[in-house]
Amino acid sequence: MGKKLALALSILLAVAWILPAYFTLQTTVLPTFASPLNLGNASLKTWLDMPWSRLTKLVVNSAVVCLANAALSPVVCIMAGYAFARYDFPGKEQLFYLFLVALAVPGTMLFLPRYLIVSDLGWTNTFLGIVAPVMMNPAMVFLSRQYLSGIDQDVIDAARLDGASEFRIFRSIILPLSVPLLVLVGIGAFSAVWGDFMWQYLVARDYQTVTVGLGLFILSQDAGTQFMEVGGPLRGLSLESMRAAASVIQSVPLVLVFAVGQKWFMRGVRL
């Protein structure tokens, strides 16, 4: 297959793939849905006139939970991964395969019992309730283990001979060498929570903890109009346009994170 054909094919597909996103963007500058090329009466009205106070609160909430997860999840996952990659302890092999099983039983599936636990702990409608269950991610522990197994054992042994403590080894050798991994896990943790809907839908109860994803859900229903009206007059904006604008707002961080993350992904993954 020629290079040109490959190029043409991939461009064609790329266009089709971008289309839904394009539609969403287009709707933010038009009063309602229209055909893709119809940009005749495009304006920034939606962006300028929207009751922003409502959306700002959602963005702040999301930022809090996501940054918390992005900061804590790498620490937890990499430490666990390191233990699997570097230490020999009794039953390690079995534990790791148990872990792979946990990797297979995804957290999302356990939403019902998790919800019961979080509500027993009194964590419903708190940021803690949103973040704690998703912090430990078996998939990320697995990636960490694969990555950390690739670090030269001789370096570690040399440090150990020189009398470095285990913590010192972890901090001065492992961490600097696993920056791509840290970034990768952090980015994954950030976007997983930012893009999540289901868990937050169950845990968050009111405006104090509602995140962007949930706001978008509210907007996707007819009640969306009332939700936005609390923040200020709508000045004739259609629910469709506001919804699309909220979609874009939700997507921007994910796009940015992906743009930055792709480079790190190639460096952080060792399969």
């Binding site: 490959a6 190029l7 996103a21 709707t27 996707s220 992906f258 399969l271």
Partner: protein
């Protein structure tokens, strides 16, 4: 490890316990295996299994064939272009389900949505894509294809990129044509990724929830009600924690079974 215990092990224990009780507001009544018996005897559960299996088939098709084909095409392009294309293919995955669901709802709308407008132009009858039990699952699955292609394609491309170019050159020298190259060299050398994807896609497909939830709410007549959606309905809408837990347990067991088989295979490759 504590987190792992709290949000992986304990939930399973919770599910097991509740699945054996008729959970009430004040007291839980021991009912033994009645929840399971009711589950397996009822049509509803098997209906949701069937719906979920359709999603498994669709997911596997995408991750095994579509994404791999795409990665093969992309591997012909220069590094820069390849990265650009991968970014484009990732767009639907970056935009969350909710962000694009409005577009899809409009696309499938009966009788004047985007798809039906195209059908009308070529004089074919209009179809209520989301309103008919026959088409609904496939229509939803089709809406998900875009979101599913990017990730696997990225992994495949990374794996193809890691193949020693000398091997490919040598094969070319020996007169291997493109097809033989793909069949006998590239495909076997990317098996590791394929195995990993096989497991993760199957599990992901078992967890389908958001798209049917947003697009149809599981309807019409439960024709798009996946197992996850079924658990949600039973547990949170009908308040039948016992039956919902039983379903969680059954699901977890299936996934663990699947994982054990797959991990055995994966283990051979990881050495």
């Amino acid at each position: 490890m504590l987190l792992l215990g709290l949000f992986y092990v304990l939930p399973i224990a919770y599910s097991l316990r509740f699945s054996l009780y008729d959970v009430g507001l004040v007291d839980d009544v021991w009912v033994g295996l009645d929840n399971y018996r009711g589950l397996f005897a009822g049509k509803e559960f098997w209906g949701s299994v069937r719906v979920t299996l359709k999603f498994v088939a669709a997911y596997l098709f995408v991750s095994m064939f579509l994404s791999y084909g795409l990665a093969l095409v992309l591997s012909r392009l220069s590094k820069r272009l390849c990265g650009l294309m991968l970014t484009a293919y990732h767009v639907p995955a970056i935009f969350t389900t909710l962000a694009t669901v409005t577009v899809w709802r409009w696309f499938y709308r009966y009788p004047d949505g985007g798809l039906n407008a195209i059908l009308a132009r070529v004089r074919l009858p209009q179809v209520a894509w989301l309103g008919s039990p026959v088409t609904v699952t496939w229509a939803i699955a089709f809406a998900m294809v875009g979101m599913l292609v990017g990730g696997p394609a990225l992994l495949y491309t990374a794996a193809i990129g890691q193949i020693d170019s000398e091997i490919i050159e040598a094969a070319r020298m020996d007169g291997a044509n493109e097809w033989q190259l793909i069949r006998h060299i590239i495909t076997p050398l990317t098996h590791r990724v394929r195995l990993y994807l096989l497991l993760t896609t199957m599990v992901a497909a078992l967890l389908v929830w958001e798209h049917p939830f947003f697009l149809t709410g599981g309807g019409p007549l439960g024709a798009s009600k996946t197992i996850m959606l079924n658990i949600y309905h039973k547990g949170f809408v009908e308040g039948d924690i016992g039956v919902a837990s039983a379903m969680t347990v059954v699901m977890a067991l299936c996934i663990v079974g699947l994982a054990v088989v797959m991990v055995r295979r994966l283990r051979e490759y990881l050495g």
